[in-house]
């Protein structure tokens, strides 16, 4: 179905090749997983299959790519698009339309299919993706998981022979991942060819037939899934890969922290005055710990973090630190959120200006020390926008530390990161343990088990559980991430 032969590719503004003499043949009906560290060339391979390279992303290309009999290098993009359907990483930016029904129709409309056929296909795709209730809604009011469902439905409605998914789960919770897994199994049963480039591997264990491990723009390992899954977890770690199953995850028992506490009082908030998006009357949390905030999409995690940072103007709750009550305005001064897209919070022309913006004057002497601690000294004169994702994150943290922020909130800090980068982030968090109180909002169990001290499980705006991540707590957390989906279903059934 897909044949790539002796491919060399170099992006237009880069010096090193993204692919070096890469050859790959994928048979019809095969489900292939592409994995490897960031920058290994996975995404480049997906872009060659759907024709974005060389037609959209330019560069130097040698070699042949044939997909379903079409020469993807020579053919126009819209010709390749009839055979290949693509799902991307960021649900925010892969929609052309603003309502869900038109979005599903979009690809079919471009193919010039008759109206009746398109309508039939919309219904069929929505049924297959369990997205019937989402038809006719505004795209901007959907959660990340719902958006990804619509993206899949939109691609499936065009009936392509090949599906290409580029890190589709980066922004998804466990429930949404499970739903995506069912979708891919459905495509498998229809005999479609699927290529998935992905960091999170655990959900693909019984989905993929074949695993391709890439490194340095070439193929390192090409094995059937059964053999690949038999490799010991340590070997996967060495390759820089995330584990294949969650139940073997180990909890690194966190060191004890001092007995100081933070007390949240009256953490209640409602957007429309009717439904409570957040409803926590009182909660005592350990100060200077690393607290993982978990729960499904829509559980109130982001409302919680916005209130904690003092960003909701009508929020009336308080946090007691050292016996002093901090209201909304004080919280705005005391807390800082590192957003999922760090680009939103980098304003200045150089790293040095950036970390000094909003700094309290007493911290002048600490600037060098903190930059050094966060490995930013070599970059002080660089423009923050030109840094890598991890470096940008560190700049944001440095500016928060210098502005004397007590509470740091991280929104999905490791979405789309490979094993090594995730571990780096975890190490960074650990270095702040005992100095600041960290809240980490995440769907990433591996990150939580590598660095967090406590888990705060939210559901429906309230607290379901709060527990320290000792051996017992670690078990509980893993159970939550493995069984989450089944549990949700059982609840639905009993209701």
């Amino acid at each position: 179905m897909i044949e790539m032969k002796n491919l060399d590719f170099r992006y237009a503004n880069s010096n090193t090749g993204a692919l070096n003499n890469f050859s790959l043949t994928v048979d019809e009906g095969e489900i292939v997983l592409l994995c490897g560290e960031s920058g290994c060339g996975k995404t480049t391979v997906t872009r060659l299959i759907n024709g974005l390279i060389p037609h959209f992303y330019e560069g130097e290309l040698n070699g042949r790519v044939t997909v379903g009999g079409v020469d993807a290098v020579k053919a126009e993009l819209y010709e390749t698009a009839r055979i290949v359907g693509s799902v991307f990483q960021n649900p925010r930016s892969q929609f052309f339309c603003v309502d869900t029904t038109s979005e599903i129709a979009f690809a079919c409309e471009n193919m010039g299919l008759p109206e009746d056929t398109i309508k039939m296909r919309i219904r069929e795709a929505a049924r297959d993706m369990e997205a019937e209730s989402l038809l006719g809604r505004s795209i901007f009011k959907l959660s990340g998981g719902e958006k990804q469902k619509i993206a899949c439905a939109s691609v499936a409605a065009a009936h392509p022979e090949v599906f290409v998914l580029d890190e589709p789960t980066s922004n998804l919770d466990m429930e949404a991942i499970e739903s995506l897994r069912r979708t891919i199994l459905l495509w498998k049963s229809l005999g479609k060819t699927v290529v998935i480039a992905e960091h999170r591997l655990h959900w693909l264990r019984d989905v993929c037939d074949r695993v391709i491990y890439m490194s340095g723009g070439g193929i390192g390992i090409d094995l059937p899934m059964s053999k690949f899954a038999a490799m010991p977890p340590e070997k996967l770690q060495k390759l820089g890969l995330r584990p294949l199953s969650l139940d073997k995850l180990k909890n690194e028992t966190p060191p004890a922290i001092s007995g100081d506490t933070l007390e949240l009082r009256n953490f209640c908030f409602s957007y429309d005055g009717k439904k409570q998006a957040l409803d926590i009357k009182s909660l005592v949390l350990p100060r200077n710990g690393i607290i993982a905030v978990i729960g499904s999409n829509g559980a109130g995690k982001s409302t919680f973090s916005k209130c904690l940072c003092g960003l909701e103007k009508k929020f009336g709750g308080k946090v007691l630190i050292d016996g002093t009550a901090c209201g909304r305005r004080a919280l705005l001064k005391k807390s800082y959120m590192v957003m999922q897209d760090v680009n939103h919070q980098l304003f200045c022309e150089s790293v040095e200006d950036e970390v000094r913006l909003g700094m309290s004057e007493d911290n002048e002497k600490d600037v060098q020390g903190i930059l050094n601690q966060l490995d930013l000294l070599p970059y002080v004169d660089r423009h923050p926008v030109s840094l890598s994702g991890g470096q940008k994150q560190r700049v944001a943290i440095a500016s928060a530390l210098l502005a004397d922020k007590e509470i740091l909130v991280f929104d999905e800090p490791t979405s789309g990161l490979d094993y090594r980068h995730m571990k780096e982030t975890a190490a960074l968090f650990k270095s702040l343990l005992g100095k600041r109180t960290l809240f980490v909002i995440t769907h990433d169990p591996e990150l939580i088990l590598s660095c967090c001290t406590h888990a705060l499980h939210m559901e429906n705006g309230g607290i379901r559980e709060f527990y320290p991540l000792d051996d017992n707590g670690g078990r509980r957390l893993i159970d939550y991430f493995i069984n989450n989906d089944k549990e949700e279903k059982n609840i639905e059934k009993t209701v």
Binding site: A81, F95, F96, C97, D99, E115, F140, Y336, H344, Q345
Partner: protein
């Protein structure tokens, strides 16, 4: 507001009008109320046309806008006609100026609000296609409407980040504030724009086949009624021209 532009949820359209009818309504309002064409001779035209946006807003359940429109318009209208003549000099000038601008602009603006808040992008695209407008024009415009809410989203995130850093307009450096906002906005928007185009292209946009459009638009009884309402003033205007030229 930007969240509401071309974003209406399906099912919240009020009186269902074809986008082309809405466009004609908007043009009529602009010509006769905003442009003031022929109002001297057709004195009853402006007030009757001004009722149109009110009716349409009410039908779309936009009660707040409708009430606001009614009160402001009536207030300025009475100021113009009753208070205005009693004043002299600079106050008179200011009063008549403001009232005049409001009575002229507001009806068309309200009509515009009605149009953008009850039309979806797909309806807009479908209407443009029926009017045989080139795809080279239609696609960039629909992308633009798609982009508004995205930019609004980005902007609110950036604002939140600035507040957490303690950077606000309270300081004296307004120029810097603009820069702080624009740099991240441009970085994020250009990235989103690129991803958006890539996604659209892999779904076959820009092919050599004529696109179909599943959006159901078409003229119904109500559309014909509205078109009639719009055509009448134009005909009257033309008739007047002939009369004038005869004399």
């Amino acid at each position: 507001m930007s969240q509401g532009v071309m974003q209406s949820d399906v099912g919240n359209h009020g009186l269902v009008l074809d986008p082309r009818t809405k466009l004609l309504l908007l043009i009529t309002m602009a010509v006769f109320v905003l442009g003031g064409t022929g109002t001297a001779a057709l004195w009853f035209l402006t007030p009757s046309l001004c009722i149109l946006p009110l009716v349409l807003l009410l039908s779309a359940k936009k009660f707040i806008s409708a009430v606001l429109y009614l009160t402001v318009y009536l207030a300025t209208y009475s100021v113009f006609h009753f208070v205005g003549p009693k004043t002299t000099g600079v106050p008179n000038f200011l009063l008549l100026g403001t009232a005049g601008i409001i009575t002229r602009f507001m009806p068309s603006v309200m009509m515009g609000i009605y149009v953008v808040s009850t039309t979806t992008v797909s309806e807009f695209t479908a209407a443009m296609q029926r009017m045989r407008v080139s795809e080279r024009l239609v696609i960039p415009m629909s992308v633009m409407f798609r982009f508004f809410p995205t930019v609004a989203d980005e902007f609110s995130s950036i604002n939140a980040a600035m507040r957490m850093r303690g950077v606000s307009f309270a300081g004296k450096n307004a120029g810097k504030m603009l820069e702080y906002r624009l740099v991240p906005l441009l970085t994020c928007s250009s990235k989103i724009g690129e991803e958006l185009s890539a996604a659209a292209l892999t779904r076959g946009l820009g092919g050599d086949i004529r696109r179909t459009n599943v959006c159901e638009i078409g003229f119904r009884v109500l559309d014909y009624a509205m078109i009639l309402v719009c055509i009448v003033p134009f005909i009257m205007l033309i008739l007047r021209w002939f009369e004038v030229s005869v004399f």
